[in-house]
């Protein structure tokens, strides 16, 4: 198991966002989390990426307990994420956003960066090559010097995926990567996600509302409802699970 969530609970005051959610994710699989609005999907992702600390339970990543690890150290282990509402650095260009994704892989400090001579320059150029590979992969060559604030929504989502990829993560958390996209953009995004998993062996946990996409690309699916995990299994199993149908459609009136 690459990621092991053991009975994770999260409370905000009296509100329970997650209660005793246990999930195991294998290396290299595409794991989808679905559920109605407010079910706690994003809270779960925030617990893994460190923006929230679970009230109880344990999160183990590659054999290491990361429950209380600080947020900025988790990328060093190989955890990267994208956000539901795009959180790009809107005054920076696409290139700069992706270069920022290389931050933890680089070393130069204030002085060497300010002098921009020798080592710092070589480092920038070296990482630029990695970033260009990602730009190539995501097919965003033509916008690389545009400020991301000026880009269309679908492209911003793609740039955000690119920024997460620049970390060369072993676990990629995607929070609604296809929200608000048209079907063509969704298709592109689904293709990118499959390629990432296939070519780089990256484990992907994704939250998505589009059931068609979820059932098509994910290896396993977990369903959350009111902070509880009500089902887990292959897409086929989930589709005919009575509890899931009830959560989404309500009970039958008899």
């Amino acid at each position: 198991m690459q990621l092991d969530l053991d009975r994770v609970s999260l409370h905000f005051g009296g509100v329970t966002a997650l209660s005793e959610v246990s999930i195991q994710v294998k290396k290299g699989e595409i794991f989808a989390i679905i559920g109605p609005n407010g079910a706690g999907k994003t809270s779960l992702l925030n617990c893994i990426s460190g923006l929230y600390r679970p009230s109880s339970g344990r999160i183990v990543f590659e054999g290491k307990d990361i429950t209380h690890m600080s947020t900025h150290q988790r990328p060093l282990l190989g955890i990267a994420r994208s956000f539901q509402n795009i959180e790009l650095f809107s005054h920076m260009t696409v290139l700069e956003n992706l270069m920022l994704g290389r931050h933890i892989k680089m070393k130069s400090g204030i002085v060497s960066g300010g002098l921009y001579w020798g080592k710092a320059q070589r480092e920038e150029v070296m990482h630029r090559e990695v970033v260009e590979d990602i730009i190539d992969f995501l097919e965003i060559e033509n916008i690389r010097r545009k400020k991301v604030g000026t880009l269309a929504y679908g492209l911003q989502k793609r740039v955000e995926l690119g920024r997460a990829l620049a970390l060369e993560p072993s676990l990629l958390l995607l929070d609604e990567p296809m929200a608000g996209m048209n079907s063509e953009e969704k298709e592109d995004m689904a293709r990118f996600i499959l390629d990432i998993a296939e070519e780089k062996g990256t484990t992907i946990i994704l939250i998505e509302h589009d059931m068609g996409v979820v059932m098509d690309i994910s290896d396993r699916v977990a369903v959350l409802d009111f902070g509880r995990k009500i089902a887990e299994g292959s897409p086929e199993e989930i589709q005919c699970n009575p509890k899931v149908i009830e959560a989404y459609l309500g009970e039958q009136v008899s």
């Binding site: 990426s49 460190g50 923006l51 947020t71 900025h72 150290q73 988790r74 990328p75 060093l76 990267a80 994420r81 956000f83 959180e87 790009l88 650095f89 809107s90 005054h91 920076m92 700069e96 270069m99 920022l100 994704g101 931050h103 933890i104 680089m106 070393k107 130069s108 400090g109 204030i110 060497s112 960066g113 300010g114 002098l115 921009y116 710092a120 320059q121 480092e123 920038e124 150029v125 630029r128 090559e129 260009e132 920024r163 970390l167």
Partner: protein, 355 residues
């Protein structure tokens, strides 16, 4: 091979490796422009009056200070109203080292930078928890505390009596005239501007901008917010400390009323009018604010020939003009003079076919 004809506008970037692509792109025309400006700056004392050189000195010192404030407020997004006090820390540190310890100026200048950086870093600690308006109040506290210390720590600062500083000298050359001091200020200005430009195209500078734009995302990308905010405070204060040391040794007499909150506001005005988050903007803003009262005074002197009472009116308006300028910029061009200049350049890029 790059562009061949120096008299045409460049239509694109034609580089074949990433190293060239990441260098500053100076079309031939821009290269000539930069060279001419630098040459003019170095030759300025030969054709300008001493009075003009002294104004240039003040402007140059303001440029360094404004760069410092812009690193913190414009690039990292941490508002600071403690600028005036930090200038004071730099000026008094340098003054203490040269006047009281009798050590040479070339030692006092960097020392002032480092001491101010340390003080700035300490007052930057609240920035982890406080944002926006609340951080502004915390830096206001820094201003008040430091001013209090300057007034009351008399063994070091001479309190309200102020401190007389010796004429600075570097390696045996006395910098006691406006012209000789001008070259010191100009050199410092160029070095610190270039450093700033480089910083913001490399790793740490990018992290600063990321914190300003989206601190949450920056943290998830592995940036230690606390550490980088402290870095920003320290680096900004280093610049301000250098500016303070240069200012103090230029005035040759420093007292607490040189480093009041009024100065802080003046520097804030510089970066707002010049352009937040723009290196060139800091320069434009600093020069603009330094020249504003002087231009107003000259103007009133000229008009006095025709309207004898205008002088009193204009001098009374000075403070108002200052405030109005800030308001006008905030409303009509929040990105400041740097953006206006960029717009002009963009217009002429396509001129005369601007469609």
């Amino acid at each position: 091979m790059r562009l061949r004809n120096p008299f045409v506008m460049e239509s694109g970037v034609f580089t074949t490796n990433y190293r060239d692509d990441m260098a500053f792109h100076f079309p031939v025309l821009a290269k000539i422009r930069v060279a001419v400006i630098l040459l003019l700056l170095f030759l300025l004392p030969f054709f300008a009056s001493t009075y003009f050189v002294s104004i240039a000195n003040l402007a140059g010192i303001a440029v360094i200070g404004a760069l410092g404030l812009n690193i913190l407020t414009g690039f990292t997004g941490q508002i600071s109203i403690g600028q005036g006090a930090f200038l004071g820390v730099g000026a008094y540190t340098a003054g203490f080292i040269t006047a009281k310890l009798g050590l040479p100026f070339w030692l006092a200048l960097p020392a002032a930078g480092f001491v101010t950086a340390l003080v700035g870093a300490v007052f930057g600690v609240p920035s982890l928890r406080l944002k926006g308006l609340y951080l502004a109040i915390a830096t206001l506290a820094a201003q008040v505390i430091i001013e209090f210390v300057i007034v009351h720590w008399e063994t070091v600062t001479n309190g309200v009596h102020g401190m007389f500083l010796p004429a600075p000298g570097i390696f045996g050359y006395a910098l006691d005239s406006d012209v000789s001091y001008y070259y010191l200020v100009l050199t410092a200005c160029i070095i610190m501007t270039v450093f700033c430009f480089n910083l913001f195209r490399s790793r740490v500078g990018r992290a600063f901008i990321a914190i300003r734009d989206r601190d949450l995302a920056a943290e998830v990308m592995g940036i230690d917010l606390f550490r980088y905010k402290i870095y920003a405070f320290a680096l900004s204060s280093f610049y301000v400390g250098i500016a303070g040391a240069l200012w103090g040794h230029y005035l040759r007499i420093i007292s607490p009323e040189h480093f009041t909150i009024g100065v802080s506001i003046q520097y804030l005005a510089m970066v707002i009018i010049g352009g937040l988050g723009s290196v060139m903007g800091s320069i434009y803003g600093a020069v603009f604010i330094t020249l504003l009262p002087i231009v107003l005074r000259e103007l009133s002197g000229l008009l006095a020939n025709y309207l004898p009472n205008i002088e009193a009116v204009i001098l009374g308006l000075k403070e108002a003009v200052f405030g109005i300028t800030i308001i006008v910029f905030l409303i009509y061009e929040p990105e400041g003079l740097a953006k206006i200049w960029q717009n002009i350049k963009d217009y002429f890029k396509l001129w005369p076919f601007s469609y």
